[in-house]
Symmetry: C2
Subunit: 162 residues, 2 copies
C-alpha cells in the first residue's frame, strides 16, 4: 500500500503517543514492520515538521513525545528566575527576614518580580535602592525562601548568615 507524507506522519504521531520510542531507527523499524519503508533522514524531517520533542522518563532515558503534549512553565516564575539571575548579588537571612542585595537602583525591579511570582512563604517585600527585605512568617520559612532564591539566582556562595 502506497501512502503519502500526511498519512505517514499521522502514523508516526500514533506510534509515538502509544509506545516509548527513543530513536528514529526504532521508529523506522516499526514502520517497516507495517509495510511502510522510510529512511532515517525522512523521519528526522517528519519529526521536525510534527514538532516532536525528545524528553526523558524517570530514569533519564530519552523518549519522543509530540510537542502538543509539552507546555511551558508559567511566565511569572520564568521571569523571576531571569531577573534573579541577572540582578541579585547576595542572599542572606536573619530571623524571619531575607535580605537581597542588588546593583544600585535595581532593587525595585527585583522586588516587583518577586511580588508578581507570589511565592509561598513570602509575606511581603520592601525595596530600597540596592537592598530588598523579604518578610517571612518565621525563621524556618525565611531559610526556605533564602535557599530557593539562592538557587534561582545561580549564586554559588553560601547564603546562610553565620
Amino acid at each position: 500500500m502506497k501512502i503519502g507524507k500526511q498519512e505517514r506522519q499521522k502514523l508516526i504521531i500514533n506510534f509515538i503517543s502509544e509506545s516509548k520510542i527513543s530513536s528514529q531507527q526504532q521508529l523506522a523499524t516499526l514502520l517497516h514492520s507495517r509495510g511502510i519503508p522510510v529512511t532515517q533522514s525522512t523521519l528526522s524531517r517528519d519529526l521536525e515538521e510534527i514538532g516532536v520533542a525528545k524528553v526523558r522518563d524517570q530514569n533519564g532515558d530519552p523518549i519522543y513525545t509530540v510537542s502538543s503534549t509539552v507546555v511551558s512553565i508559567s511566565p511569572p516564575e520564568e521571569a523571576l528566575r531571569k531577573v534573579l539571575r541577572e540582578w541579585v548579588a547576595k542572599v542572606e537571612y536573619a530571623g524571619n527576614i531575607v535580605v537581597l542585595h542588588t546593583p544600585p537602583g535595581c532593587a525595585h525591579v527585583v522586588a516587583a518580580a518577586l511580588d508578581r511570582a507570589q511565592l509561598e512563604d513570602i509575606l511581603g517585600t520592601v525595596a530600597g535602592d540596592d537592598t530588598i527585605f523579604i518578610v517571612s512568617k518565621n525563621e524556618k520559612a525565611a531559610g526556605t525562601v533564602a535557599g530557593r532564591l539562592n538557587d534561582a539566582s545561580g549564586l554559588i556562595v553560601k547564603y546562610k548568615s553565620e
Copy 2:
C-alpha cells in the same frame, strides 16, 4: 574559582531557562566564558541527570528545557487514542450519525473510552457488538467528529460515505 558538580548543574539550569540553548557545545562555550571549563561529555551527563529535554520552538528549531517544565497530555484523551488506534476498523457517517466498526465484541470498549473522553460535538453513543453509533447534533458536527476519530485511529482510508 573551583566549583563542584552541584554548582555547575545549577548554573546549567539557569542558563537553559534563561536563554535559547540548542546544543551542548553552545552550553560549553557559555560556561567557558564564565570561567568554568567543562567538556561536552560532562554536559551530556549533566543534562541527563538534570533531566533536561530537547523540545522545539515555533520554527521547529531545537532548544533545551528543564524537564520540570514538561507535562503530559491528559490521560483520558491519550487512552482514547490508544483504544481507537487498536480497535477501530472503519469510520463513516451519514446525517448526524457517525458509525464506527470494530472487531467483534470490541464495540463496548471503544464506546466506553469515547464516553470518558467527553468529546465535544458528541451527544451520545450506542454500542452493539461490532458497531457503534455516535450521535451528533447535525451533519456538520458529525463530519467533524468522524474526521477527528479517523485521524486518531490512524486509518488511512477515507471516512466519508459517498
